[in-house]
Amino acid sequence: MRRPPDFARWWTLSPVTVWMIVLFLLPLILVLAVSFMSRNIFGGIEYTFSLDNYIRYFDPLYLKILWVSCQLAFLTTVFCLLIGYPFAYIIARSPAKYRNVLLLFVIVPFWTNSLIRTYAWIILLRTEGVINTILLHIGIIDKPLTMLYNDTAVLIGLVYTMLPFMILPLYASIEKLDKALLEAASDLGARPRQTFWKVTLPLTAPGIMAGTLLVFIPALGLFFIPDLMGGSKAILIGNLIKNQFLTARDWPFGSAISIILMALTLLFIAVYVKISKDKAGKDLM
């Protein structure tokens, strides 16, 4: 076997290496470094080492923002799962010739701009919006309902934007599920409900975990949905980071929050990898 000369390796892999080091790794290291510095009076960066930004984050005000963000991201994930699981199941169990088309119709809205999808809900929910106009016209209500600019609106926006990310991995794992196992369970006398909890759910757990990861992490950072659909007090961690960089011009603090958000994300991924590895280990036994 002849080895290709080394320069081939050089031209295939060096562009990506250089590019990602300069424009991905270096910026992250920079943010990490800046997070240990402090803001000077002009909104610039004071090059002295301190842990102040991280200590400052443990102020109840900021911890609450983190807590509320996680809560909202969690609720988004739960709703996506509750809506998405039966739906993915139905598609995965539909006649094979329809499956691809049905799936394509889930992916199409996911390909469209998330900002446009958010805007679509604003048109529906606002005071002069479509829902209010119809309800007023029919006479069900006599003054418009306030449906926009609150936490529920943000939740609707997030669920709508993230739902396809949940459905796709769920579909992938449910479709792989061996039907014979379900039949075996029911032949052995398991009721449908038992079969679901003891067979279907554990076997599709990887899909649930992948979907959870794909929904939870972006839901923490999508600042424009709370910005456009939330009330004035709907500040989430994504908005907090954005404001520190663009409005308050406190980059060191904004960097520290970013590092916290990233650490949290990597923690979730580590847990995910650990669980799926343990599961793979068990399956082998």
Binding site: M1, R2, A8, W11, T12, L13, V16, T17, W19, M20, L23, F24, L25, P27, L30, V31, I83, P86, F87, I90, I91, R93, S94, F105, V106, I107, P109, W111, T112, N113, L115, I116, Y119, A120, I122, I123, L124, R126, E128, V130, N132, T133, Y160, L163, P164, I217, P218, G221, F223, F224, L228, I241, K242, F245, S255, S258, L261, M262, T265, L266
Partner: protein, 259 residues
């Protein structure tokens, strides 16, 4: 009987979810043809909003920026990503796992962190924000996706063919162009189309790295929505939806043919 009830319920439930997915978008499109500017009462059909769109200089400017960035990003990211996927597939070397981590980390870390980190870099290097910074950022977040797609295509590729070509005297570059590239072409095209849509739809990262003179279409929509809801935004959104849809259908067609 039970089964048929289950089936019926299944169809009903699935229809509800599809309704949830499509109703908002359909209404958005419908109201781009509504004469009334102020509220949701239907006052008659018009294409005025589309006409106005094409007379709005700032929107046309944003469209130009978006298209320029998307086209150059597609070319750049597809080239870097394809070469990298081939290299990763062909060679084993020290630090391969580290490189893999470096390349796939951008997919999992929050977009907002990527956005602000690049903003921090550009500001430290005193690079003024504009088309160049947008390009740099878009290529960075697209390369990993191209790699994933091309890699999936390479998974079924027989390495022996490449070796046979080289044994017969083909240079690595010739081997790549004449042997490898034709085989992975559908993956490369799929990766390019994915990059194009990612670039043209990006909001979060562009928000931080675009300069005052380089607003992209999504950023333009963002600022328009902040000022208030107008049918002009509906018209613009409809056109963007249509463009994305066409690209996706095209990509789907391509993959169907492959099968």
């Amino acid at each position: 009987m039970r089964l048929s009830f289950g089936r019926k319920f299944g169809v009903f439930y699935a229809s509800l979810v599809y309704l949830f997915l499509y109703l908002p978008i359909s209404i958005l499109i419908l109201y781009s043809f509504n004469r009334s500017k102020l509220n949701a009462v239907w006052t008659g059909f018009t294409t005025d909003w589309y006409v106005r769109l094409f007379h709005n200089d700032s929107i046309l400017e944003a469209a130009k920026t978006s298209l320029t960035v998307a086209v150059i990003t597609t070319i750049g990211a597809t080239m870097i990503g394809t070469l990298a996927a081939v290299g990763m597939y062909r060679y084993h070397f020290r630090g391969k796992i580290a490189l893999e981590g470096l390349v796939f980390l951008p997919i999992v870390i929050p977009e907002i962190v990527m956005g602000i980190s690049m903003l921090a870099l550009f500001s430290q290097l005193k690079v003024s924000l504009g088309i160049m910074t947008l390009l740099a950022a878009h290529i960075t977040f697209s390369v990993p996706f191209v790699m994933v797609v091309v890699r999936a295509r390479l998974a079924g590729f027989d390495k022996n063919i490449e070796e046979a070509a080289m044994d017969l005297g083909a240079k690595p570059w010739t081997t790549f162009l004449k042997v490898t590239l034709p085989v992975i072409a559908p993956g490369v095209i799929a990766g390019a189309l994915l990059t194009f849509t990612l670039s043209i739809d990006d909001v979060v990262i562009s928000f931080f790295v675009a300069g005052p003179g380089s607003t992209t279409l999504p950023l333009k929509i963002y600022s328009m929505v902040k000022f208030g809801v107008t049918p002009e935004i509906n018209a613009l959104s409809t056109l963007m939806l249509l463009a994305t849809l066409l690209i996706v259908l095209f990509a789907e067609r391509l993959q169907q043919k492959e099968k």
